[in-house]
Amino acid sequence: MAISKIWVVAEIVDGNVTTSSLELLTAARETGATVEAVVAGDGAAVAAQLGSYGASKVYSTGDLGGSLLGVPVASAIAALVGGGNTPDAILLAQTYDGRDIAGRLSVKLDRTVLTNAVGITVSGDTLVADHAVFGGSKIVKASFTGAGPFIVLVRPKSYAAEASGGAAAAVETIAVPDSGASGSATVTERHMEERTGPKLDEAAVVVSGGRGLGEAGKYSMVEDLAKALHGAPGASRAIVDAGWVPYSYQVGQTGKTVKPEVYIAAGISGATQHMVGMKGAKNIIAINKDKEAPIFGIADLGIVGDVHKVLPKLLEALKGRS
C-alpha cells in the first residue's frame, strides 16, 4: 500500500483559505495521487479555491458556532475514518488550531503525530518528515512505524503554494458528532489588534527588534524602520515575553516563520529558536554590539554596533527615500 489519498485540513480566515493551507495542498499533490480537503465551516464557499490548488473534494463541517476547532474537527474526521473512509495521511499546518486538531485526532485514531515538519517525502509504505533542529543546522528525518493514517503537522512556509488549475472541489457535508463536555470550549468574543502595513509572514522586508533595544519605548525605532522600508515589524520572544509587543509579532520556533527578501535583526542575539524562524530569509542584516553574537554567523551584512546609534542614523538617511 503506497501513499495515495491525502487529506489536508484547510483553515479559513476572512473567507479565504490560508496560505499555509494552500502550501499543504501543494505538498499533498507532490505526495499522493488523490488530495482532499477538510474544512471547518462552509466548504462550498472555498471549493473553487481548494480545487484550484488540487483538492478534488472538500469535506465541510458547516457552521461550528464559536467552538474551538480541535474537538469538533477531529471528531468529524474520526467519524469519517470510522465509517471506512480512510486516507493514508492527514496534513495540518502547525498553527494554533492545527495543533489542537492534530492532538485530538491522534488519540481518537490512536496514531502518533509528527510535528514541526519542514518537508515530507514518501518512502515505501510510510511517510518521512524532516525536522529542523539545533537552530536549523541539522535535519532529523523521522518516519512512521505503524499503520496510517499518518498525521503530520507542517510548519508554515515549508512549501511554496502553487496552483494546479483544477476544477472546483466537490462538496460533501460531514457530520460533527456531539462530544459533550470535551467539546465545551467556546469563543465568546474576538479581539483584533490594529495593524497597518503588510503582514509579518508576507512582507518583503521584516525588521525585528530584540532585548538589545533596552526598553519598550525604543521599539518605535524598529517600527519606523519597517515603515520606511514598506515592511513589517517583528520581534524576538524575549521582548514579547517582556510585554513590549504582542505575541503576534514573534518570529521563531513558537512564533511565525518568515522568508522575506530582507530580514533586519536589531539587538537580537540569534538563539536557535529565533533563527529557525528567519533563516530562510534571502538576505539578513544584523546589528548587535557583541561581535560574538550567533546572529552574525548567518548574516550577509553584520554591523557590530549599538542599535541606539546605528538605527537613528539609518532612519535619518532613509528619510524621503524608498
Binding site: 477531529a74 494554533y96 495543533r99 523521522a142 503576534s248 530582507v262
Partner: protein, 259 residues
C-alpha cells in the same frame, strides 16, 4: 480547587544538546531541571488556588530516570505534592505515549483543572497537553495568556494570529499557558526547606495499569531514520561601526533594490 500541573524535567537548555548516535534521540541522561516553560504553569496554578481560597496543586511528571530535582523546584515554589512516573520502559516514548502515562497519573489527583505549557523546551511538539485532554475527556484551551475561574467554568484569553479570543470551557479542563503569562516567583529559603518534606509519590507504569508495549520505544509510532546537516548559510561581511556603518546598510538595501 485542585489543580494538576504537568511539569517536564529536561536537560539544561543552556548546555549544548546532542543526539544519541544510535537512536538519534535527544540525549536526556544526567541531571535534569524544571523546564522553564512549566514554571509559568506552576505559578499560574498557585495563584488560581490562592484566589479560590483553598485547594491543592499537584505536580505530575514523567521521566525515564527517577529525576526529582525539577519537581523539588516546583514544590519549593509552593506546590503541595508531586507524582513522578519513572520507569525504564518509558525511554523513547513519543508524545502520545507520554500523554497516556500523564493522563493516568493525573486521574489520581482528580483535579478541577490541569495546566501544562504550550510547548516544552526540548520536545516542542505542543501536542501532549491536548492528547492528555482527549484521553481524560476534558475540553482544552491552548495558548492561554490569562486564566480565571468563574464558578464551574474556566475563562481564558487565548492568543490568536491577530489578537486574542475570550474562550470559556467547563471544568474539569486542560489549559496550556504561554511563557510570560505570569511573573514566576523564586523559591524562598523557607520554601526550599519545606519542599524536602512534601509528599512525592513515585510510580511505575504497572501502578497505573499501563502496558509496557504501549509506551517507550515499543509503543512509539515513529522512529528517526537519519540526521543530516542542513544546507549551511554562509556568514557574510561583518564590520565594526565607526559611526558610518549605517551607510553600508543603505548601500546594501540599494543593491537589493529595496530602496
Amino acid at each position: 480547587m485542585n489543580v494538576a500541573v504537568c511539569v517536564k524535567q529536561i536537560p539544561d537548555p543552556a548546555l549544548p544538546g546532542s543526539l544519541d548516535p544510535s537512536t538519534h534521540a535527544l540525549v536526556r541522561e544526567g541531571k535534569l531541571i524544571l523546564d522553564d516553560s512549566d514554571a509559568y504553569g506552576v505559578e499560574m496554578a498557585l495563584r488560581l488556588v490562592e484566589a479560590a481560597g483553598g485547594g491543592e496543586v499537584t505536580l505530575v511528571s514523567m521521566a525515564p530516570n527517577s529525576e526529582q530535582s525539577g519537581l523539588r523546584t516546583g514544590l519549593a515554589m509552593g506546590a503541595h505534592r508531586a507524582i513522578l512516573v519513572s520507569d525504564p520502559a518509558l525511554k523513547g516514548s513519543d508524545a502520545l505515549g507520554t500523554a497516556k502515562v500523564l493522563a493516568a497519573a493525573i486521574k489520581r489527583a482528580n483535579p478541577d483543572l490541569v495546566i501544562a505549557a504550550t510547548e516544552s523546551t526540548d520536545g516542542y511538539t505542543g501536542t501532549t497537553p491536548v492528547q492528555i485532554a482527549e484521553l481524560l475527556g476534558f475540553p482544552s484551551v491552548t495558548f492561554a495568556k490569562k486564566v480565571t475561574i468563574s464558578g464551574s467554568t474556566v475563562v481564558v484569553e487565548r492568543q490568536t494570529e491577530s489578537g486574542y479570543d475570550d474562550v470559556s470551557a467547563s471544568l474539569p479542563a486542560m489549559v496550556t499557558v504561554t511563557a510570560g503569562v505570569v511573573e514566576v516567583r523564586y523559591p524562598s529559603f523557607k520554601g526550599i526547606m519545606a519542599a524536602k518534606g512534601k509528599p512525592l509519590e513515585e510510580l511505575k507504569i504497572a501502578d497505573l495499569g499501563i502496558d509496557a508495549s504501549s509506551v517507550g520505544w515499543a509503543g512509539a509510532g515513529q522512529k528517526v531514520d537519519a540526521v543530516i546537516d542542513a544546507e549551511a548559510r554562509q556568514a557574510g561581511m561583518v564590520i565594526e561601526d565607526d559611526g558610518e556603518a549605517y551607510a553600508k546598510i543603505v548601500e546594501f538595501l540599494e543593491q537589493l533594490k529595496v530602496i
